[in-house]
């Protein structure tokens, strides 16, 4: 094949891939544009579409029927899901909606696997099998069909929104929801219909993709990330933007990996980062970024739950109990649970670090996996190449993660809400890709193996119990420092920024400086967690840099109680322990975890701390703080809500 013919084939490959991204991303974009929800369950609905396609194909042997029926079934299921869950959460902050859809995604994936199996075959329809020749080119008939079908569906969506009354309301709602409401239109009904429509589009893409890729329960994860990027890149809510961005990513990655293969794996995240830095609102975003961002990021608590100072008797009692546990555990002959507690403490620290950014400042960060992972890798590299001193590791790794977090803040602090989430996610994935690719330094996918035991003040720490005490001491000191730093003029400015950034800047504070410093502090705490993690394990693998660590941390924060610092510390520990416990006894434990996520978000949005404060309020004020803040009763749902007061002024 000549160079020009090969180029044309590669261009077609890129277009076919890009149009598939467009189909998935347009559903995501439509849902986000109208309801403001970044739907993490979208990839699982794409997967469900493929699976139901397999089922219909198996029953009828007819691909066309599968292409028709599977999306309709997914649409019906998504309508029920939306009405039961999301419909009640549209006024909540982005973090809650995101977490709810993440929980739904886990349930859909596990449920599908349990019913249909984790892997299914989906052959190419016979009529579209094999290649077709035109000019000097052989090209698969099925890929041409995917291109044609995707173009048709895309034109159909565009026409639907452009020329129908439904489309008119949806477009109006995406620009100004309050205005549409004031015209007497029940917008919430449209939310459901748009969610169904978006899900149908995901399922159509799923059925179309099934003959191209492996059909397994993980198939939605990869395309979900790319689709998020397409939506953000194109400009939130811009259908035209999604089409152009999808094609741009599809064609750039295909041609790039062919002609400049050295950058394989970096293209997508590089494009996203580059575009957003040059044009923050995306390629075709028409809105005022600052306005949308501030609306998306605000978190305001109706009820304050202040962090418990480390000298508080409850905190001291908790530390005392934690200090006694190893003595009891070793007494009954098992140091294993002491090791589990160490991991739980490390996880609590990661959640604490995210709470600094999210709960105290309103920054929904997916960059914390990067800070945690860098701390772990820096420690691993030091242990292998220089010294296995834990103190030296802390002295090197923590400033490094502080510096990286500050730099991440420098380039991304102007974003907020989902924009900030996506930019930090892209940065995290770039680090992850680097850890897999830069084999000479990082050990590639196998990671850094056979790390020696750490030393502390010259003594080798090879006992689980001793390491536990080191971890506990580190957590106590870190928590104490963080609470102390926030109980200061600096902390009050941070709080003021969360409640109203514009007001704070009117008072003369450079809010960006404070946000960067808080993110750096937060990164430092994640770095401490990374050092402790590497110190307790014999291996550091790329998993520590994967964005899902940030997702787990987000759940821990909300499970414990966002903005309270001690809540996430507890939530992180419980989350880590719960994963170990559930996975030991339940096959489909992710389904249970997803259900817990959904229930927590819906019925206990202030997390476990609200349970405590309710109990304390019930038992009596003597258990509460002198100011009564932790002992207050009062309503718990919704206690954190999106505060639109500032931008409405």
């Amino acid at each position: 094949m000549s160079f020009s013919n090969l180029f044309v084939v590669q261009l077609l490959n890129g277009v076919a891939l890009g149009l598939l991204y467009v189909l998935v991303a347009s559903g995501l974009s439509v849902i986000f544009g109208v309801s403001g929800i970044l739907n993490f369950a979208h990839g699982s609905l794409y997967m469900l579409g493929a699976y139901l396609g397999v089922v219909v194909m198996g029953a009828t042997g007819n691909f066309w029927l599968a292409l028709l029926l599977a999306p309709l079934l997914v649409g019906a299921a998504s309508g029920v899901i939306e009405r039961l869950t999301l419909h009640h959460l549209y006024d909540r902050p982005v973090a809650y909606q995101l977490l709810l859809t993440f929980g739904l995604s886990l349930m859909i994936i596990e449920g599908t696997g349990a019913v249909f199996g984790s892997q299914r075959a989906f052959p190419t329809p016979e009529a579209l099998a094999g290649p077709i020749q035109f000019g000097g080119i052989f090209y698969p008939k099925y890929r041409l069909f995917v291109i044609g079908a995707s173009i048709l569906v895309s034109i159909g969506i565009w026409a639907f929104f452009r020329y129908t009354d439904f489309g008119l309301v949806v477009r109006a709602g995406s620009q100004n929801r309050e205005m549409v409401k004031s015209l007497g239109i029940d917008v919430s009904r449209y939310f459901t219909l748009v969610f169904v429509l978006g899900s149908v589009l995901a399922a159509v893409a799923g059925v179309l993709a099934a003959p191209l890729f492996a059909v397994n329960t993980n198939m939605g994860n990869e395309i979900l990330l790319v689709s998020f990027i397409v939506v953000i890149l194109g400009g939130l809510g811009s259908f035209r933007g999604s089409v152009i961005a999808g094609l741009l990513i599809g064609v750039t990655t295909t041609l790039g990996e062919t002609y400049v293969p050295q950058l394989t794996g970096f293209y997508i995240y590089g494009i996203l980062l580059g575009t957003l830095l040059l044009r923050p609102q995306g390629l075709f975003g028409q809105y005022d970024l600052a306005k949308v961002a501030s609306k998306a990021s605000k978190i305001s608590y109706q009820r304050r739950i202040d962090p418990v100072p480390i000298r508080d008797r409850r905190a001291l009692a908790a530390v005392a109990v934690m200090a006694l546990i190893p003595i009891i555990a070793v007494g009954v002959g098992s140091a294993y649970y002491v090791g589990v507690l160490s991991i739980m403490l490390v996880w609590g620290l990661i959640a604490l670090s995210l709470d600094l950014a999210l709960g105290r400042l309103g920054l929904l960060s997916f960059g914390h996996a990067a800070f945690f992972g860098l701390g772990a890798y820096a420690t691993g590299l030091l242990f292998l190449n220089a010294t296995n001193s834990l103190l030296v590791a802390l002295l090197v790794a923590v400033p490094l993660t502080v510096a990286v977090a500050w730099l991440v803040g420098a380039v991304s602090i102007r974003f907020a809400g989902v924009f900030f989430a996506m930019v930090t996610l892209a940065i995290t994935q770039l680090f992850y890709q680097l850890s897999v690719t830069w084999t000479d330094l990082t050990g590639g996918s196998d990671g850094l193996t056979a790390l020696p035991s750490p030393t502390l003040l010259g003594v080798t720490v090879d006992s689980t119990v001793v390491f536990y005490y080191i971890t506990l001491a580190s957590v106590v000191v870190t928590y104490g420092l963080v609470v102390r730093m926030l109980d200061s003029p600096f902390g009050r400015v941070i709080e003021a920024i969360r409640e109203g950034e514009r007001r704070t800047s009117f008072l003369g504070y450079d809010t960006s400086v404070y946000k960067r410093r808080t993110l750096a502090l937060s990164g430092g705490v994640a770095g401490v967690a990374g050092v402790l993690y590497a110190g307790s394990q014999s291996v550091v693998t790329p998993n520590v840099l994967h964005w899902t660590i940030s997702g787990d941390a987000l759940f821990s924060v909300i499970l414990g109680g966002m903005g309270t610092l001690f809540g996430p510390l507890i939530g992180g520990g419980i989350y880590a322990g719960m994963q170990l416990l559930l996975s030991s006894y339940i096959d489909s434990w992710r389904f249970v975890l997803g259900l817990l996520l959904v229930l927590t978000v819906m019925f206990a949005p202030r997390g476990l701390v609200s349970v405590y404060s309710k109990l304390a309020g019930f038992v009596g004020p003597r258990f509460g703080r002198p100011d009564g803040s932790a002992g207050e009763g009062g309503p718990s749902v919704p206690e954190a809500s999106a505060n639109a007061s500032e931008e409405n002024r």
Binding site: A121, Y139, L212, F213, A214, T254, E257, P261, V340, T439
Partner: protein
Amino acid sequence: MRRREVIKTGVCATGLLGLAGCSGGGTGTEGESTSQSRTTTGGSAGSQTSSAGGDAIKIGTLHALAPPVIDAAKQEQRGVKLAVNRINEAGGIDGQQVEVIHENTNANPKTALEKAQRLIENENVDLLYGANLSPSALRIAPYTNEENTPYLTPVSSTALAGEACQQSTFPTNIDPTTRSKAIVPTMLERSGSQGWIHILDFAWGHDVRDGVQAALADRDAEVLDVTTSALDATDFSNVVSQISSADPDWAYLGVAGGALVGFLKQAQQFGLAEQVDLYGPASSQPTRQGAGGAIEGYVSQARFTPFYDSAENDQFVSSFAAEYDSLPNDYAKDAWEALHLYKAAVEEAGTTSFGDVTAALESVQVVGPMGEVSFRECDHSCQRPVHVAEMVASEEYGYPCGDIITTLDSESKMVPCEESGCSR
């Protein structure tokens, strides 16, 4: 260096007929599989115990019960249970009954290590088996050595018998470098001298590439290009188009799992499979199941086929079919074989103590369903026959299985002990 090659043909076709009875109605050696002393759990969740009571030998197993390998891992769990039942029925290991505790790694290296810690520190198991992913096994191996617990794993990472080798650790499958070296002569003989190598950019893919290039080094062969895809790649159309355009005689794929399924489907749509012969070391059961007809014609190492003609395989397959009313897969065979290797080692050593058992594992030989298995003393590399097979349709499975073309010994393809990088 001499190599032993045994030509076998038509095994898959013969086996198809031979197995019809045992897979369908649970006949064959049904009587043997009737459990006598077992108290299996029936389900397949983690942290479950199949016990024999008394002063039992405890075996901890780690299964990756997470998508997309969860179905395969459940078969692995069945393989363990079946082996334990049969061993206990035959009098146990050296007179001691066997108790097994299953754990779920979630296919996550971090969880795998935590579960290994639970099994060793809390349950005091005498043997650890499993963790079917190389990052998990690489984490667990040094830990088991610290804890003086023998560790058998089906993971075939080159590093496990190389720079990451441990006295405790015995990989029961051939590493991808050796496997690739074994496949290359058949590839050149069947397809020609001009080829293309494509790999996923991670340690396993690099091992495959190194193995093929080493095997090609002193042969009359030309590699047109070596291309790489990201570890999480799903679309291979650009690579398939490049290979199609270059039109080599063969393409060797260091691609596994869902990525291999996608590659083969796309190769079929482009007509590449008709134009270029496809080879590679990976053809596990989930891959064959997911790829369906798209994997037919692809040549690989057959880790296991229920149609392999041996008395040991017949016994294993019929026992499994009688117990579970389904055919075993690669993972079930690996588990069955590993537990019998451990049994042989303990009986050889006369004890379950770490030093004696690991020393015995270095010398015992067991005839498994797919041939004789042993470990090389210097680095614990697995020594077993390499069955090079073409994937063909199988009505019994419902998805393709391997039709063996050639069988070679693995020893002659291994790197010499002094070059393995193992310095334990």
